[in-house]
């Protein structure tokens, strides 16, 4: 491509506090409209906001996890604009003294690390939700204020991303960080993680970026990637034709897969930010920062690198395991119990555990098979064999029983008793003189046939290693 692309992202993550940012209303998702609203979040005359301490702590935690500089205090400002879902017609947000500034997130694209700078991290309140009637000739709209006042963390990057892959990696890693530190559930289907993207194109090597286009209301990572791909080609086409790309705000039309103009630069809002007089600044001392730091776990990128080094698994596998902090914890708990066999555990978790979780649509915390149970099963594998171990695993998931009791109940233990195997193999040799002759004459696969016959007689339970040894010995030394 002949153009260079410059992209930035604003991420809105709803914090997972029990109550709203400035009042005691519940933040539960999916309740009957307007059942979680009070005079404060409805913006009735005379009400005042009171900061939810938990929401502030969550934001501080996020700002620290995103390597931000934390000021001596954070204060709040009013962002003034009119919209029917905004009860006060201003949003309490931050503009002058954010919780965090100048942070960064390290991403990995095609195995290469890149640093994405974070311009700021700030806390603000959610708006309500407009509900439009299904028939377009109905001349009304309704507002649901259940969401109004839910704490919302906004994370703004610098225009540092140069490819769609970088944007994708940034979004995934950011989401993982937020999940890791436990401040947001990041459920895109419930709107608790949303994005706004900005993008501009310029000639390769040009000193000045092209006009910036912003795209609002992107409700999933997929939508971000699609709209950016769309914009790269739309803006590229315009530039190819010698036309100007307008500085404007656009909306993504998911159904038709196009972006549409929302407003031009001239129509842009003047938000008339000014300090929120109803709230006092929140002072942040070093002690608070230090204590918050202690609550931040090892973050996904570091954990992934450590897994590769410490457990000798592939970078890809480490990536899968560290995508969810609880899955990573599960893996580490298993490794600890088993001492070694980390590679095998990793395979089991990625292939079998994740498959069962996906099929059942549950998360690892709800999984019936504990790390101890999984490790026990893998130990049993040497006696029951791989195929039976897989069967036992499914049974464990279904019943919650441990491997040993399933093996006993179903009599699945492997036949390793040498005396018993001697008797059975003698029988097989006697019944198949031709195969024995063939093997003696050098036909190697005749042995496989004899093993198969023995397996048939033991219903697959014979220990293949011991069985093979006995057969070889018997044929070469002849009948006793």
């Amino acid at each position: 491509m002949k153009y260079e692309v410059v992209m930035g992202l604003e991420t809105h993550a709803e914090l997972n506090t029990v109550s709203k940012l400035f009042c005691g209303c519940s933040t539960k998702f999916g309740s009957e409209p307007n059942t979680q609203a009070c005079p404060i979040c409805l913006g009735l005359p005379g009400v005042l906001p009171v900061m939810n301490e938990r929401a502030f702590e969550h934001s501080l935690k996020a700002a620290i996890a995103l390597n931000c500089e934390i000021g001596r205090f954070a204060s709040f400002d009013r962002k003034n604009y009119y919209y029917p879902d905004l009860p006060k017609n201003y949003q309490i947000s931050q503009s002058y003294f954010n919780i965090g500034n100048n942070g960064y997130v390290d991403i990995v694209v095609k195995g290469k690390k890149k640093r994405i700078d974070i311009h700021n991290v700030h806390l603000e309140e959610e708006a309500g939700k407009l509900i439009h009637p299904e028939k377009s000739d109905d001349d009304y709209s309704l507002v649901d204020f259940n969401r109004a006042g839910v704490p919302l963390l906004e994370i703004v990057t610098e225009p540092d991303m140069r490819s769609i892959e970088e944007v994708e990696s940034y979004m995934q890693i950011l989401r993982n960080i937020l999940l890791y530190i436990g401040v947001s559930d990041c459920k895109m289907q419930e709107g608790s993680l949303r994005f706004e993207a900005s993008i501009s194109l310029c000639e390769k090597g040009a000193k000045v970026y092209g006009n910036r286009v912003e795209i609002k209301n992107l409700n999933s990572m997929k939508a971000v990637l699609k709209v950016l791909a769309y914009e790269i080609s739309r803006q590229g086409d315009l530039l190819d034709k010698g036309k100007e790309v307008l500085m404007e705000t656009r909306l993504w039309d998911e159904v038709n897969a196009v972006s549409r103009r929302m407003r031009t630069k001239e129509e842009a809002h003047d938000y008339r930010y000014f300090p929120e007089p109803d709230l006092v600044p929140v002072w942040i001392d070093q002690k608070w920062i230090d204590e918050t730091k202690k609550t931040i776990p090892e973050l996904p990128v570091n954990k992934r690198q450590r897994f590769v080094k410490e457990y000798l698994i592939s970078d890809y596998d480490a990536g899968v395991l560290t995508e969810d902090i609880f899955l990573a914890d599960y893996f580490e708990a298993c490794v600890k119990l088993a001492r070694n066999s980390s590679k095998e555990l990793s395979n089991w978790i990625i292939n079998d555990v994740l498959r069962e979780l996906n099929e059942r649509k549950i998360n690892i915390q709800e999984f019936t098979v504990t790390p101890k149970m999984l490790v026990e099963l893998i130990k049993e594998k040497s006696t029951v064999g791989n195929a039976i171990a897989k069967e036992v695993f499914i049974e464990m998931v279904n019943t919650g029983k441990n491997a040993q009791s399933i093996i006993n109940e179903k009599n699945l233990a492997q036949l390793s008793d040498v005396d018993e195997l001697n008797t059975i193999t003698a029988n097989v040799i006697e019944k198949n003189p031709k195969a024995v002759e063939d093997y003696k004459r050098g036909k190697k696969n005749a042995l496989a046939f004899l093993i198969g016959q023995t397996m048939k007689m033991t219903k697959g339970k014979a220990n293949p290693k011991i069985l093979t040894e006995i057969l070889k010995e018997k044929i070469t030394t002849g009948p006793k």
């Binding site: 005079p39 029917p84 930010y273 109803d278």
Partner: protein, 492 residues
Amino acid sequence: MLLHELTASKVRERITKREVTAQEVVEELLEWINLKEPLIKTYLCLDEDGALSKAKEIDEKLSNGNKVGLLAGVPIAIKDNMCTAGVKTTCASKILENFIPPYDAFVVKRIKDEDAIIIGKTNLDEFAMGSSTENSAFQITRNPWDIDCIPGGSSGGSAAAVSADMAFMALGSDTGGSVRQPASFCGDVGLKPTYGRVSRYGLIAFASSLDQIGPITKDVLDTALLLQVISGHDNFDSTCAALDVPNYISDIDRLDDVLKIGVPREFFGEGLNTEIKSALMDALKIYEANGAKLVDLSLPHCEYAVATYYIIATAEASSNLARYDGVRYGHRSRLSSDSNIVDMYSQTRAEGFGNEVKRRILLGNYALSTGYYEAYYLKASKVRNLIKNDFEDAFKKVDCIICPTCPTPAFKIGERVTEPLEMYLSDIYTIPANLAGIPGISIPCGFTSAGLPIGMQILGKYFDERKLLKMAKLFENETDFHLKRPKLNQQV
């Protein structure tokens, strides 16, 4: 003395001593209100039934020997910008003409808890924006001392009600002088507490960083009593101080130390009515005679107070009043079928707000606009700090500051309606205290030759209301200006 002529403390005493029932007090008061209201027009809403049933409740408590509150049986008037659950709260604006709040303001809850009787909601300048109460969308309130004059504003209804004995005490709100200036014009005592002394929860905001609720009463003791009830921390107001409330009533008559009183030059210069100036000089002599030392001082940045105030107050107001949009409550314009949401907003607000409110919304939005924010709002915030510093420096040298409450006595109805700037200047001596956040009290200190009350203002250190009250009480003990009532109070 008729019942309605008593002070709140006196009427409470008589009720709790069972010399009179709360019901009798309310009935007598209502009779008087109904007699005078057509002339003075202080109330936007009278809650006769509510008041009577609350009175019966208190009488019952007393006859059962139960404990009663600090304001037992005292009928109180509330400025109509404080929310009263179930009772209309209009801010004297068409946009809230039919608004009934579902909750009580903090101060309303406090006075109810102390067994006060809310008699009604008083008139004000629309959204407390004005200095004469002429900006009410509903009625013009008259000054009981001269019915051709305004009562001051914006708490004009509350001040006139107390002065005309139509309420035993009242609550007002003071953003730039809206308690002290009308108290001064009506011969009442009016106090603006330190910013953060009284919760603003339920006070319909005009300018959040300046608004403070305060008492308007017939004498200093009643102000102390009402302040005692409404002060203190509230978890619903982050700007409300988490400080203990001292006892304002005990020892109110005792001043131990020799006090140093600051007399700021800038408040006695050009533009001050000569009769007011000489009343103040006489008042200062009384303090001197009681052992106080007068200290000449300067508050150099107060010159810019009015300009600063009209940037900060209007900026905050433009945002505070944005919520009145017709979407959820209050007035909504009747719209034609082809109109959209923006039409709804603009028509609703065009119809719902009066001219002064619109003027201030426009000024405020302008001051906050991109490109002007630094020149106006930010600059004003810096000047505000300088004014604050002026006072902090002064209070290193003196215990309190005495100055006139207003440069002129009450002016005629209609006189300044077309001259907004002149109207704004009537708050020139009261605004600095709001910008600095310090407390100030206005007490009667004389009368003009035309018989209009003159107010003296005492300003104090942060949270030093106790000293202000003692200073005010000392003056009251030495004089009888507070005892004089308007002529019309005798006419039945």
